[in-house]
Symmetry: C2
């Protein structure tokens, strides 16, 4: 098996297991079993479990933000694009394997012990904030709106993750709409 293929399969399995069950209760042997990549290969590709976790978060970060941006860019009107963020969240929350925000979960699990994971979480959230900031700026709205929209998105992710309900996304969208109107 090609090294690149093995890497992808390992990351696929790691993502499914880490996100679905939590990082600490998934062993390297579970990743091996789910990926079909032998332990020897796994440790060649990722020298420690922590590196595998970092690679999992990094790849998921790229994909997650890529999918969000791709969905948002389908909409032309600037304010509509801001609301599209919450539409996308609602779709995400409705996916059968949705289990909350991977980074918030990872922060709860590893933030206190792994500075690298904590830094990745901060970077991910900062990137999301920056992205929202560009949407707000493109709509000609005051920058102060950015942080408030971020709070709505974070709150929706947490609440949907705990309740397993898509409703928080609609609540957040409505709140965002009010904030947009008031800022206009």
């Amino acid at each position: 098996m090609d090294s690149a293929v093995a890497r992808e399969r390992a990351l696929d399995a790691a993502e499914r297991l880490f996100y679905g069950r939590g990082v600490r209760c998934v062993g390297m042997d579970d990743v091996r079993g789910a990926s079909g990549v032998s332990l020897k290969r796994l440790y060649q590709l990722f020298p420690t479990k922590e590196r595998l976790v970092e690679a999992y978060l990094e790849r998921r970060d790229e994909r997650w933000r890529g999918r969000l941006a791709e969905y948002v860019e389908r909409h032309g009107e600037p304010e509509r694009r801001i609301l599209a963020v919450f539409d996308w969240l609602e779709r995400w929350f409705g996916e059968p394997d949705f289990r909350g925000c991977a980074w918030i979960n990872a922060y709860g699990e590893l933030g206190a012990t792994s500075p690298r994971v904590a830094a990745q979480v901060r970077a991910h959230k900062e990137a999301l904030r920056k992205y929202l900031g560009t949407l707000v700026a493109d709509a000609g709205l005051p920058a102060a709106l950015t942080g408030r929209l971020l709070l709505l998105a974070e709150g929706a992710m947490v609440t949907a993750g705990v309740t397993r309900d898509t409703g928080p996304a609609r609540d957040a969208r409505e709140a965002a709409r009010v904030l947009l109107r008031a800022a206009r």
Copy 2:
């Protein structure tokens, strides 16, 4: 040492350690060392570590919501009381040992493996929602506001926890003020 005293000391140490470092990376022996309560006593009071975790979350829930309500009740005017929730959050975020929301953290760490902890988190969040609901109702505001305010509070807790900054509380307060005004 009295049994009740030992229980309180054990819970004090457990709360400090579990909240500060995470549940899984704190061993029962750490709790023993920090509390001065012997392992034998600990296991008499809490038959398993999971029970200790549950007791920690339960006691913290009572105290947390009690302190919030106590602060809010100092304010007479109904809409002012809603905003006081966010003032209280800001104070909390500024405490030196603040490390995010204990229940969100616990959910990220244990939600996937411990149904009882997951249920406690849901119950805590539901209680917070209910409390906000009473504040909204007392202010004669539409019930739909409740969920949106909850999202702001949750988002503020997550963001403040990750960034270790009190700013999200002010952002949330300002957003809440706009939502209140628009709903009036």
